[in-house]
């Protein structure tokens, strides 16, 4: 983080330690004196919530792993034993499973906030890319975790998703066999997925530290999109952001607890209460809700791409679907360069706001389509919705930067805050002790 440290060790031990391993100083500078814009709204609390969600998933996951067996013949039953016979086992399992869903709820809100307030724009491109990497790792972790209970959806999800890789020309089938450790999804697959499901969260934690580091180098964005200009604009992280994040966190966990205790199966699939059966595919196989938009994109491509006026297939429908699906995620990496506008916050971009609202509604609709069977009216809708998804990134975002006339922006964060206070007819007088720490 930039700027000099304000940490003052008081105790003798503190001073001794500070000269050797200044961990307390690092914590103080990152989470106590760290300056944050004074105008952050509730959407800025999801970063902290996500960090706690990761911790919560790791803790419950470690507990579940104490009772779980990753053997195909006993995996399903071991989860049931955990739920039935282990003290608080059902709670742990529900918390972990529902937690995965809420992790994604939080991450989607976090991403949407970043997209609306232009958090990916210079100088925060690396911060954004690290975030997308975390998102990718989360998807891999969630997918492999869902395989572990070894129910019908676990098994057939693994079957379908590993088949993505068989779409790779020439080497696809070999790649898939290496992923599975066999000729079909089986015991070897389950074992390696368990191993990787245990590993990946710690990789997420590592990237998350880089993500926070990158954040603390550039500082946070804020709803005005105007960079911090003076110490008037900021307040110290503790107690202001700490107490706000804590409140948001507890509200978030209260909602999650409602699901854990009263609707634990609401976000799951009934078919996963049937043990994996390699001979019978469930009638209606769908991924977990957080993958549904991408599943719709996958199924929207049901046609071969041929060289015009010939019968030569360039990309068959299978590869095309997989490419479109991975493309839908990969395009996020290029977002910082696709958005050509100089204005950071969507609040001052009238056309962008419309485009963004359409993007969000379309993404939710795409998710709904992902849960529908690929037949009848649903297929053309999937195609249209997929088109709208990609159109947001190319060409709408680049074009908007050219044609849009942004609204006037405040000169500084403090100006915006003062204006808002006057709007509300309740101008506050600055308390002397709210004096923020300097930044630089």
């Amino acid at each position: 983080m930039s700027g000099h440290s304000t940490y003052q060790p008081t105790s003798g031990f503190g001073k001794w330690m500070d000269a050797r391993l200044p961990m307390a100083r690092l914590m103080h500078d990152s989470f106590v004196s760290y300056p944050v814009p004074r105008n952050l709204n509730a959407f800025y609390t999801f970063g902290g919530i996500l960090m706690l969600m990761l911790v919560s998933q790791i803790i419950t996951g470690v507990v579940i792993a104490m009772h779980y067996t990753s053997d195909a013949s006993t995996a399903f039953e071991s989860v049931q034993l955990l739920r039935r016979d282990v003290s608080y086992g059902g709670l742990m399992q529900n918390w972990h499973a529902v937690g995965a869903s809420f992790f994604f709820i939080a991450v989607y809100l976090h991403i949407a906030r970043g997209m609306y307030y232009g958090s990916y724009k210079a100088p925060r491109e690396v911060l954004w890319i690290l975030g997308v990497i975390i998102y990718l790792l989360m998807m891999a972790t969630a997918f492999m975790g869902y395989v572990l209970p070894w129910g019908q959806m676990s098994y057939w999800g693994a079957q379908v998703i590993t088949n993505f890789f068989s779409a790779i020309p020439l080497v696809g089938d070999t790649v898939r066999e290496y992923l599975l450790g066999g000729y079909s999804v089986g015991n070897a697959t389950l074992n390696r997925f368990f191993s990787l499901h245990y590993l990946l969260p710690f990789m997420i934690a590592g990237i998350a530290i880089l993500h926070v580091w990158a954040l603390h180098v550039t500082g946070q964005t804020n709803p005005t999109g105007v960079e911090v200009k003076s110490k008037q604009d900021v307040i110290p992280f503790t107690p202001y952001a700490t107490i706000k994040d804590a409140m948001a966190l507890v509200i978030f966990f209260a909602v999650m607890a409602y699901f854990v205790f009263f609707l634990p199966d609401y976000l799951g699939h009934a078919d996963n209460y049937i043990e994996a059966n390699p001979l019978v595919t469930p009638a209606h196989i769908v991924p977990e809700w957080y993958f549904l938009p991408f599943y719709a994109v996958l199924r929207a491509i049901d046609f071969n791409i041929v060289i015009p006026f010939t019968d030569i297939v360039l990309i068959d429908s299978k590869l095309g679907g997989v490419l479109a699906m991975f493309g839908a995620i990969a395009i996020l990496f290029f977002l910082p360069w696709l958005d050509t506008s100089d204005v950071r916050s969507g609040n001052y971009r009238p056309l962008f706001r419309i485009a963004f609202a359409i993007f969000v509604i379309n993404a939710i609709f795409l998710g709904y389509l992902g849960s529908r069977p690929a037949e009848g009216i649903w297929v053309p809708l999937m195609k249209a919705s997929t088109l709208v998804y990609f159109a947001y990134f190319i060409p709408i975002l680049p074009l908007l930067g050219w044609i849009e006339k942004p609204l006037p922006r405040p000169a500084s964060i403090m100006d915006a805050v003062m204006e808002k206070s006057q709007d509300e007819g309740a101008a506050h007088i600055e308390g002397s002790a709210a004096e923020p720490n300097t930044k630089g």
Partner: protein, 206 residues
């Protein structure tokens, strides 16, 4: 809350209210942390199935002749069951107290039916869990995990010597009383009883 009281310049009452609020919030936070830790610790206990499987076991010992030792399993751990001969009982009863590191009378180390008290004066002491009062039984039933660090002692069966631990050399007599360290105490007795002449129950007192 002294470090935060300079945030504003409210009067004394406001400060009290605020202090109370901070205190209540902090207390709720402590409750939350406790509520998280409790299930995490609780799940470590043996689960309901382990508990149910740890119910007493019954076995027919009619085939175990005097002089024989069998090893039985209860709650996943090994237990020695020795049918003592008359000579062994006499040997064990006559052994001088000072050769034992943790002396217990024979009556406290044995149980079971068909016994003639060899030593009328012996009574069960605090080590006598499972023993049949002041009577000496023909059966010695004990845990087969050394009280030093848990290895299973090897049977030697020469005279008074019953077992030697292969890990660190502790010695036990034929009723499991320690005669040489590092084991500090005798092999512990499980709760046991004889449901009939031949049926030994390990895991429950009579």
């Amino acid at each position: 809350m002294a470090e935060t009281s300079n945030i504003d310049g409210h009067g004394h009452d406001g400060e009290n209210r605020r202090d109370f609020l901070y205190l209540a919030t902090g207390a709720a936070g402590a409750v939350a942390v406790g509520g998280i830790i409790w299930p995490l610790v609780s799940q470590l206990a043996p689960n309901a199935r382990e508990e149910a499987a740890g119910a007493p076991v019954q076995l027919n010992v009619s085939a175990v002749e005097p002089g024989m030792v069998i090893t039985v399993v209860w709650r996943g751990g090994p237990y020695f069951v020795r049918h003592l001969t008359d000579e062994e009982l006499e040997l064990a009863a006559d052994a001088p107290e000072d050769i034992f590191r943790d002396f217990a009378p024979l009556a406290a180390r044995t149980g079971g039916p068909g016994v003639q008290p060899v030593d009328e004066t012996a009574t069960a002491d605090e080590n006598g869990a499972g023993a049949t009062g002041g009577k000496i039984g023909r059966w010695a039933v004990m845990s087969a995990n050394c009280t030093h660090l848990g290895c299973v002692p090897t049977e030697v069966d020469t005279g008074l010597d019953g077992w030697v631990c292969p890990c660190h050399g502790s010695k036990f007599d034929i009723t499991g009383r320690v005669t040489k360290g590092p084991a500090p105490t005798n092999l512990p007795l499980p709760p046991f009883n004889f449901a009939s002449e031949d049926i030994l129950v390990i895991g429950a007192d009579a």
